[in-house]
């Protein structure tokens, strides 16, 4: 029995969360540093996973498998494939920056409460960082779970800490004052929770259905991904078309809410708008990836025929999300909501790539998950720094920042350029791969999607022009430029964006084989180029 590396990866932040929560109220700073160190340690572990992972080895590696709930045919099964590996890396890498960026986000809440509660039993700071680590742990395990039930449990459970993060530590920068802010905040939190809970419960029905089917056909019900795929391969398991489609829909619905896909997206702008920037990053850059990841691993892996059957609709919805999200981003007056809608557009690209069923599309989609994580992190976190200075989220309240805070403006611009996927920065690669992958199978969709890069440029540049350029607006003059801590957040992420834009090979090498496996699940091959087809 070798060292359970994957468990360790997930358990470390969980333990860190408990420890952080236990820090006495007085030592706020201790809690922060503890959380930061834990998250960094997690990065190390994740790195170990990446190193130990052999791209050309088995599909799932470093597997662990223990009996858990025999009655439900549930096992504690972990395993990492190429796609999971990069996403684990992404999560582990982003969290320290999230923590660092949110260094002071809970403090003010803390101070308010100190006066009111004697003995300071209310410890927002500890809570804030503990919750972040808890989310990390759950996200990590859902990237690693190869047992549908295990995945489902954490897919659902992660809603709770997030819910508290959104509702409890909202963005105090609100144009209508504290009262309205807290109202909006809890509305956003509840909306987020109910949306995702509804999705999760629908999925629960499908999960139960899956058990019923496997129990019916394999003698005893199982949730093990490998077992099911094998049984499919050797024909022991053969779902009735109708059943498979229903189950697929059940799963897809939940993931489409998480992802989020038009028209199930409306929770995201509220959640991202009202929560603090780091939490917003946590949601869109990390947690939502679980949705797209799960489409790739579970929807395609478990229900290949149904996925094929649903492809046209999904593609159209994805295309709508792309255009719709971009157009709405153009129409926003609130910086964070703008970024949220931009993300919706990008999730459209990811889903497009997944369901294009080509290695470029799915490889691109996987890279996209990583790159979108990084680019949104930069854009959103810098936006957060900006907002924390001026205390407003309205674009109209800004102008000429670039004059007083050039470094801030510069980082913001880089984030923006990444968002509009400028060549040389990482997102370009993934976006182009998705487009090519889509185009090679569905030219029309590919072309329309390609055309939207103009819209992306539009909302990014308009945002930049309105906030950063022009004469310095009142309330902006004397705005401080990025502080060391903030620079420590922005700079490494930007460096990463550039590096992955110039030399993404390390990632692609890991991802490609995994994508091949997924494609073989759905029995698809890349269409050959005409020239060779002709020969």
């Amino acid at each position: 029995m070798s060292f359970p590396l994957l468990t360790a990866v997930a358990v470390l932040p969980a333990a860190g969360a408990v420890a952080t929560a236990a820090v006495p109220a007085a030592q706020r700073t201790l809690a922060k540093w503890l959380a930061l160190c834990v998250s960094l340690a997690t990065v190390v572990l994740a790195a170990v996973v990446l190193v130990r992972f052999d791209p050309d080895g088995d599909r799932y590696q470093l597997t662990e498998s223990h009996a858990w709930i025999a009655d439900f045919g549930v096992r504690y099964e972990l395993g990492v494939d190429g796609i999971g590996a990069v996403l684990v890396a992404l999560t582990a890498v982003l969290i320290p920056f999230v923590i660092l960026a949110g260094w002071h986000d809970a403090d003010t809440a803390d101070d308010e409460k100190t006066a009111e509660t004697p003995g300071r039993r209310w410890r927002p700071t500890q809570g804030f960082f503990a919750l972040i680590l808890a989310v990390e742990a759950m996200v990590l395990i859902s990237f690693l779970a190869t047992d549908v039930f295990l995945f489902y449990i954490f897919f659902e459970a992660m809603l709770i800490p997030l819910y508290f993060l959104i509702g409890g530590f909202g963005d105090r920068a609100h144009q209508h004052g504290e009262e309205e802010a807290s109202r909006q905040r809890s509305y956003a939190a509840v909306k987020f929770l109910l949306y995702n809970l509804a999705g999760g419960l629908i999925m629960l029905a499908a999960v139960i259905g899956l058990y019923a089917v496997t129990a019916d056909q394999l003698g005893e019900g199982t949730f093990s991904l490998q077992a099911i795929t094998e049984a499919r391969a050797n024909g022991e398991l053969d779902m009735a078309t109708g059943t498979e489609r229903w189950l697929f829909l059940g799963f897809f619905f939940a993931f489409a809410i998480k992802a989020p896909l038009f028209p199930l997206h409306t929770w995201l702008p509220n959640a991202m708008g009202e929560s603090t920037a780091p939490v917003a990053v946590l949601i869109t850059a990390v947690v939502d990836k679980v949705g797209t990841f799960a489409m790739l691993r579970f929807c395609l892996g478990l229900f290949p025929e149904a996925s094929e059957w649903a492809t046209p609709v999904v593609l159209v919805l994805a295309l709508i999300s792309i255009i719709y999200g971009a157009l709405l981003a153009v129409g926003q007056r609130d910086i964070k909501r703008l970024i949220a809608y931009a993300s919706i557009s990008h999730f459209g690209f990811i889903i497009l790539g997944i369901f294009a069923m080509t290695s470029q599309g799915q490889g691109g989609a996987t890279l996209y998950m990583v790159n979108h994580g990084l680019s949104t992190a930069v854009l959103m976190l810098v936006a957060g720094f900006l907002i924390s200075r001026r205390g407003s989220r309205l674009i109209a309240d800004y102008g000429g920042v670039q004059k007083v805070a050039p470094v801030l403006a510069g980082s913001f611009l880089v984030g923006g350029l990444a968002t509009l996927s400028l060549p040389g920065l990482a997102p370009f690669i993934s976006e182009f791969l998705v487009l090519v992958g889509t185009f090679s199978r569905y030219p029309v969709i590919g072309i329309i999607a390609a055309a939207t890069i103009v819209l992306a440029a539009l909302y990014v540049l308009v945002l930049y022009q309105r906030t950063m350029t022009g004469p310095v607006k009142a309330g902006i003059e004397g705005m401080a430029d990025l502080r060391v801590r903030e620079l420590a957040v922005a700079a490494p992420l930007i460096a990463l964006l550039i590096f992955l834009g110039v030399f993404p090979k390390p990632l692609t090498d890991i991802v490609n084989p995994a994508v091949e496996h997924t494609l073989s699940d759905v029995r698809q091959h890349d269409p050959a180029p005409d020239v060779e087809a002709a020969k």
Partner: protein, 550 residues
Amino acid sequence: MSTTQSLHSLWTSAAAEPDKIPSPHIEYAQLSPTLIVLGAALVGILIEAFVPRRARYNAQVVLAIAGLASAFAAVIALALDGYGTTKAKIAAMGAIAVDGPALFLQGTILLVGVVAVFTFAERRLDPKKHGNHVDSFTPQAAATPGGEAEREAARAGFTTTEVFPLALFAIAGMLIFPAANDLLTLFIALEVFSLPLYILCALARRNRLMSQEAAVKYFLLGAFSSAFLLFGIALLYGYAGAVDYSSIARVVSNSEANVDPALAGTMGNDALLLIGGAMILVGMLFKVGAVPFHMWTPDVYQGAPTPVTGLMASATKVAGFGALLRLLYVVLPGLRWDWEPVMWGAAIITMLGGAIVAITQTDIKRMLAYSSIAHAGFMLAGVIATSEDGVSSVLFYLAAYSFVTLGAFAVVTLVRDAGGEATHLSKWAGLGRRSPLVAAVFAVFLLAFAGIPLTSGFTGKFAVFKAAAESGAGALVVIGVISSAIAAFFYIRVIVLMFFQEPKVDGPSVAVPSPMTITAITVGVAVTVVLGVAPQYFLDLAGQAGVFVR
């Protein structure tokens, strides 16, 4: 043979010499759990009669806990002896079954009982009155609310220690109810646990008017429903000519309707059976609080003293469902095709009704009442599965649910303001800011109610829905899922209230309870989490206990 002859033979049999009557043979060992509790209850009465007032409280508490604990020990012993599985048998001349479900449910009821007694015995929540501890029960039930007599009693430091024997009687009845193996025992057990509960409901120290109102409503409706039950029993007896489950089942299955030809001439033989069965179901569904027989639940839960509510909400449900399961699985399996559709209907409206109405509740106890209705619906879904899985899933659900409920109500007793418990939701605003721990604990219970993974609520729900799905009740699962989505909304609402809203200046304070309530709550949390994270052992337990003896 003709009527007259049978009549004659009746006379003769009556006239036969008395020594022919065989003395019934009772397996005291197998019945020990019930007997212990009943004994303890009787001793309690004696204590009320002879022990000086000062000592009564301690004596009663010790006695009650000891009695329940030893009864639980007895259950364990029986289970280890294999009475749950291999040696399952019908004891007491066919009156009481000693089998898996019975033992499992009795064990659950006893544990719940112990915890409930803890909350009964809590007397630190309110400041001392006239130098005496006060608990949640009125000093003198007979005194008019706010009247001189009441004040007298309070000054004299009276306490209603009768609640402990009453609770013990009720629990004893609940122990018999799911084990009852003939209709007579069923009826008696029902009354034995109902009557003490009626009284307990009336004993609240605060809001006595509401408490009495609750008692009246509960009593009248309870009596009404038991009348239905009894009439159903009569008809069933008329159909089968026997009252013990096994023979009725025999008659039902190979439907050798031994109704008198005269009767047969006038009505289809099965009419008796069907009507009778339906009316018995009415009685059962009333006890488990299923729509449309649920309407007593909110009022009674709200009016009754919270510890009593806890006991009712948890133990009564357990007992009720136990009896329902036995009835449907042992007596009426032959009628499956007749009662299944009806139960489908009941389950659906119960799930949806409970969830929907709960949304707009403003009183935490009423809200929990409606949620208990919704949960009854989920369990009915498991009952309908009519498979061994179905039984064990419901058993598990009961165990999980009852502890969550008890814990939740225990927390409710802690949140108090000048007027006693502050049960109005608006008063819970910002509780999470004032006392994060209590709020967090309550949040755990709420999440369990909502069926969030890693809580017992999720495991139970999954087990039940799984059983339902496997027996082809997919639609039921979907509806269940939808209604749990609806239900989630109001659980979440409370959490929002507690954590995301600013505390009111005149908001309630959280009383510092005695170790007893703390134990009660701790047990609740522990069970909730354990059954959520590592439920396998208990699922096995329920799984082994899934077979009824016939």
